[in-house]
Symmetry: C2
Subunit: 394 residues, 2 copies
């Protein structure tokens, strides 16, 4: 990882700089809409739906939500993580003396739950840099195979962040490799934030094109139009991203600074995985240890120090919400069956909040005008094997 | 169904007429490419891969195939069947005296394995026409629910085509409804063939745009580019579609007549589901009875009379190929895991042929120039529940 003294400040302009640097290496993934899901999000849940949930007995909220999905499941390596990884590698190559000191041969190392591992391996390979990847031994076989497929050296560890970091430290001592952590570094944050820039631009362009497209019958119903065209709207009102280590959430928040677009984070609640939410609405002290086996396996880590400075200390995130395992699976089922798109469980927490979290939904009802909100939802990744889908729904 | 005396002749021009009629009602679904799948199709299989298959011991073929996927899984009701259904309804409304004779109230009826049922229900509802749907009692629950969701009256029957047709005849006697068969009618063929027109146009446009797009880094790798850009190519060399009743295959063949694009059909081989292939390479006599429970549940029917006249008698289809249940599932797994797209098993037979059928692959090696072929593959539908994916791969 590039030395902290050489990193750019955590600002929207730096996200724009990062985008210029990584654009040749990444996909500009499509933004899609889905009438069925927008209609579902805009339909009040019934008293029956709320029975047995934490909102039993509450009057169901009546938000109007037009959903815009940023399909990072179609990103290279199947996840947004390539954004941060390519940015980290490009910045590392720019660090004075690193290449000259044999940096490429010494390589890079990371500890990761999977997608960052594949992303860093790819980014390193494209620059001819060695990559050592420390992975939990419970990682899904597909992710391990993908990482090895990119030519990386895989080293196994236990599944807590402490165990992984210890093994990474050993690799550094042995090889001289530079650590590229999965989220807790400014270069990673700024890289992930480039997703937010694209989502802003794409939705604004789609809104401008919408009338023309509607007239032509091009992908009119389920696949490109929100429930009701928002006449005269120029862009999104809000975005919601998953929050694990917080790289994507904090980067997205930076990308929206000064634009008026509110940014929210979504977490699983299972076994305390909602560490960011608890700290955010608690005493503001970042929670440093989490041990959860939530089905959202990309979101098992506690939020990092750098992300937290953006999310909480600078108040760039407007709120955090958490969803149950069942809500995550229900959202994933809808995406598979109605959107015909494969997304991993971690990618479904934002949609689950929009559909099922009555706190979020009543907030939207209060904050939005009658026109409702245009909400950007990040499908952060699509790396889930057919076998894993089978275990989830079989 | 419109009376046969009022239908258009089976020509490419009639497909163009059909397209004008149905365009306001359907999606122009996207055409996508996928580097991983094109590379896989262009990699010779190993002797090990062929062990235990019907090609054991044969020298693996070395075709070059750039694959272009027409995503009818993103079509309305999740399948291409809306094309034929809307065309049938529009033509019926044009039949002299039908509306005036109370046709809309008497309604329409069909026997279907599922997607045609949902498609006809939707098309009928949008014109205020009653729909009665005869469905096999083993249809997947999601398809039954979808059909009822479009307001149709569902009537159950056994699963052979004979059993279904008998129940449909009873409904006609009781209600005066007009039969709209799932494939064996010129209006249906011509409607389905509109897919082929769009695929031709879209690939030609994408080839023209390719250089510009490549320069911009827009969806460069896995999701829009074939393995190697085919410099100077103006369109597809060939298309392959699934063949059940043959409506899509024959309509597509009509859409390509005179264009130089070859059209192939793909079938499951399980329990004799490859009726069209057997007749095509046999004595040319259409096989009228098939009883199979292939996993490709949309392809369990024998090919119809009208489709057969185009496929075989007019020699508009260049060849038929069949694949095993395991090959269909392997193709579906690749689409789920590498393309991140949900397709139903029936939609995977064309890809399975391109990847696994050594007869097809060696034919391509022989027929194509060194540049290889640009091959259009039809993802015909995406209606498979998460539970069914679970049963297939769990």
């Amino acid at each position: 990882m590039a030395d902290l003294s050489t990193t750019l400040p955590l600002t929207r302009d730096s996200v724009i700089e990062a985008h210029k640097l990584i654009q040749p290496h990444i996909h500009r993934t499509p933004v899609l809409t889905n009438r069925t899901l927008s209609e579902l999000a805009s339909t009040p849940r019934s008293a029956e739906d709320l029975r047995g949930t934490r909102w039993e007995g509450r009057t169901p909220a009546r938000p109007v939500l037009r959903l815009w999905f940023k399909c990072e499941n179609l990103q290279r390596v199947g996840a947004f993580k390539v954004r941060g990884a390519f940015h980290a590698i490009e910045r590392l190559k720019m660090e004075p003396g690193w290449v000259e000191g044999g940096g490429k041969e010494k390589g890079v190392v990371t500890h990761s739950s999977g997608n960052h591992a594949a992303a860093l391996s790819l980014a390193a390979r494209e620059s001819g840099i060695k990559a050592h990847i420390v992975m939990p031994d419970i990682s899904i076989p597909q992710k391990i195979a993908a990482t090895r497929g990119y030519g990386a050296n895989v080293v196994f560890s236990g599944s807590t962040s402490q165990e992984r970091e210890a093994v990474a430290a050993r690799v550094i001592a042995e090889t001289g490799a530079r650590l590229v952590p999965p989220y807790d570094h400014p270069d990673i944050l700024l890289g992930q934030g480039t997703m937010g820039l694209e989502l802003q631009e794409q939705v604004a362009a789609m809104m401008a094109d919408e009338e023309a497209a509607a007239g032509k019958g091009f992908l009119r119903a389920e696949t490109t139009r929100a429930t009701t065209a928002a006449a005269g709207k120029k862009g999104l009102d809000a975005m919601i991203t998953p929050c694990g280590g917080g790289g994507m959430l904090s980067g997205t928040a930076l990308s929206c600074e000064g634009t008026g677009i509110r940014v929210f984070g979504a977490e699983p609640s299972f076994e305390g995985a909602d560490d960011a939410k608890r700290a955010f609405y608690g005493d503001g002290q970042r929670i440093e240890k989490v041990k959860t086996l939530t089905v959202a396996d990309g979101l098992r880590t506690p939020v990092g120090k750098h992300p937290w400075s953006v999310i909480y200390e600078r108040r760039l995130v407007a709120g955090l919400y958490s969803v149950t395992e069942e809500e995550i699976k229900a959202a994933m089922r809808l995406v598979l069956e109605r959107f015909k798109m494969v997304v991993e469980p971690s990618a479904c927490v934002g949609l689950a909040v929009a559909l099922f979290d009555e706190d979020f939904r009543s907030m939207v009802e209060k904050e939005a005008s009658e026109q409702g909100w245009d909400l950007g939802i990040v499908f952060s990744g699509g790396n889930v094997g057919a076998d894993a889908i089978g275990r989830l729904f079989g």
